[in-house]
């Protein structure tokens, strides 16, 4: 199956979740740095994207991550009251409330999206949260949106193929 090619697997064929993480520069990204410097081990399934503030997280980014093949999205920001920009994380909280509800209506399981407040000193929290979301998403299985899109669009490729076949026939008929 072509669709399967989009799903990340280990050498033994086991599904490995792909998690996109958006961490704010001042708290959660620094905490992830701390986890690394402290040599904490956590699941290698996250790709971290640093934002200056979790408030920079446009809901379009989350939609795009899923559409391009992410199995889960993790967002990390400063604890309420601690935002470097005073109000940024409250905006994130509001957006995520509505976005989570909308994603549920769009058929994306709740465990695939997670918002966490992690301060710069909480390296162990990064480790716990990353491991936890990876296990939860692993249990859900691949989301594989690129594969789904391909499957849905197979029905229009068929007719396109037929139309082109007709074109070719006509072209051949002209030659004779």
């Amino acid at each position: 199956m072509e669709a399967k090619a989009n799903v990340q697997q280990t050498g033994n064929g086991k599904f490995e979740p792909r998690i996109v993480a958006f961490f704010c520069n001042w708290c959660t990204y620094t905490a992830a740095d701390l986890a690394g410097v402290s040599r904490m081990k956590y699941a290698p399934n996250v790709r971290i994207i640093r934002l200056m503030c979790s408030g920079r997280l446009d809901p379009q980014f989350v939609m795009d991550a899923f559409a391009k093949g992410a199995d889960g999205v993790l967002i990390g920001g400063c604890h309420p009251g601690d935002c470097h920009y005073v109000e940024g994380n409250y905006k994130t909280l509001r957006r995520m409330d509505l976005l989570k509800r909308m994603l549920k209506d769009l058929g994306i399981e709740e465990d695939r999206v997670r918002l966490e407040w992690i301060s710069a000193s909480e390296g162990d929290r990064v480790k716990f949260v990353v491991n936890d979301i990876v296990e939860k998403v692993r249990a859900l299985g691949p989301l594989n949106m690129p594969g789904k899109f391909k499957d849905w669009d197979r029905e229009i490729e068929e007719l396109n193929g037929k139309v082109h076949a007709q074109d070719n026939e006509e072209a051949t008929a002209h030659v004779h």
């Binding site: 379009q60 939609m63 309420p80 957006r95 409330d97 769009l106 058929g107 949106m145 029905e155």
Partner: protein, 324 residues
């Protein structure tokens, strides 16, 4: 044979409102008819598919196609008209972004068929008969087009040159597009033929829009007596103006109703619904989960509210579990 440029109108999954907007040109339609030959317009004139098939490729200057693409027949006509036309123009919200028909992407084909042919309260269908694509009777075969898994915008099926947005587009935009076609003064391919600014910028009530909204409640139009002079957002109504393209002459606002987003996004937005959601949610007041949840409960159906005309162009294209 006339040497006037040839224009075609066609409709797919649509309500007929776009056709109405052509008629709404009123006296100006005579100007259009003077300048062009209409070679296909199923809603008003009698032409057949074979007439179109007989035309040389690219012999139609422009086809204005309204409606979303749901069936194999619509898809075939879209491909045929693409081949015969120099310019294919997606006319109206459905062809542009999926429109109201694309809301069906929240349901599977089976759910739709079951409801329409069995469960709907107005249906009497004891044998649970459903349409089939091929049926043989007395040696004759009758066929029906296939009902596709998902609803698509026109550019998800064939290449589109221009878009005229709106549900329906204004006569002004149509007239401007026809004049641009006739004069050959066309913007870059792929453009939406409407101003690339948000509706708020053209809104007659923009002066009453507060800098910081901090809404404590979202209300729906039937729950309030709407002040005809004040910004609708400031009145707690979910108005899509901040993230929706202008050019509609603020028709809904003038009619004292909030914008529902039919003109689609501006060129800076990639996912219209997600962008409106972003704006709408961040205008809410509240600093803890409970409070925020209570305020945002005033938007009970985020998909239907934010993707009312654009679910086909949502990055996820609809409910992802519905189209296996």
């Amino acid at each position: 044979m006339s040497t006037k440029p040839k224009i075609a109108f066609y409709w797919c999954a649509s309500c007929g409102g776009c056709e109405e907007s052509v008629v709404d040109l009123a006296e100006d339609i005579l100007m259009v008819l003077d300048a062009v030959d209409i070679v296909l317009w199923p809603v008003a004139l009698d032409f057949k598919k074979k007439d179109v098939e007989a035309m040389p490729d690219k012999s139609i200057v422009a086809t204005l196609l309204n409606g979303a693409i749901r069936s194999s027949e619509q898809e075939e006509m879209a491909r045929l008209l693409r081949r015969k036309s120099q310019y294919l123009i997606a006319y109206g919200s459905c062809a542009h972004t999926g429109g109201i028909p694309a809301l069906a992407n929240q349901f599977s084909r089976e759910q739709i068929m079951k409801y329409v042919y069995e469960d709907a309260p107005t249906v009497a269908n004891e044998n649970k008969t459903r349409p089939v694509t091929e049926f043989k009777d007395n040696g004759r075969t009758a066929t029906l087009p296939e009902f596709r898994k998902v609803v698509r915008a026109l550019d998800q099926v064939v290449e589109v040159d221009y878009y005229i947005p709106g549900c329906p587009p204004t006569s002004k935009l149509l007239k401007e597009a026809v004049l641009a076609l006739l004069s050959g003064k066309l913007p870059p391919k792929g453009s939406v033929l409407a101003p690339d600014i948000a509706l708020c910028e053209q809104c007659p009530r923009v002066d009453s829009k507060p800098q910081d909204l901090s809404l404590t409640e979202f209300k729906r139009p039937h729950q309030v007596i709407i002040d005809p002079d004040k910004c609708l957002l400031a009145q707690g109504l979910a108005c899509m103006g901040p993230a929706t393209r202008g050019g509609c002459e603020a028709r809904c606002i003038t009619g004292n109703m909030p914008c529902t987003g039919c003109f689609g996004p501006t060129s800076r937005i990639r996912d219209h619904g997600a962008k409106i959601l972003s704006y709408m949610a961040s205008t809410a007041a509240g600093k803890d989960d409970k409070e925020i949840e209570k305020i945002l409960a005033g938007i009970p159906d985020p998909v239907g509210t934010f993707y009312r005309y654009g679910l086909a162009k949502c990055m996820l294209r609809g409910k992802v579990t519905s189209h296996e």
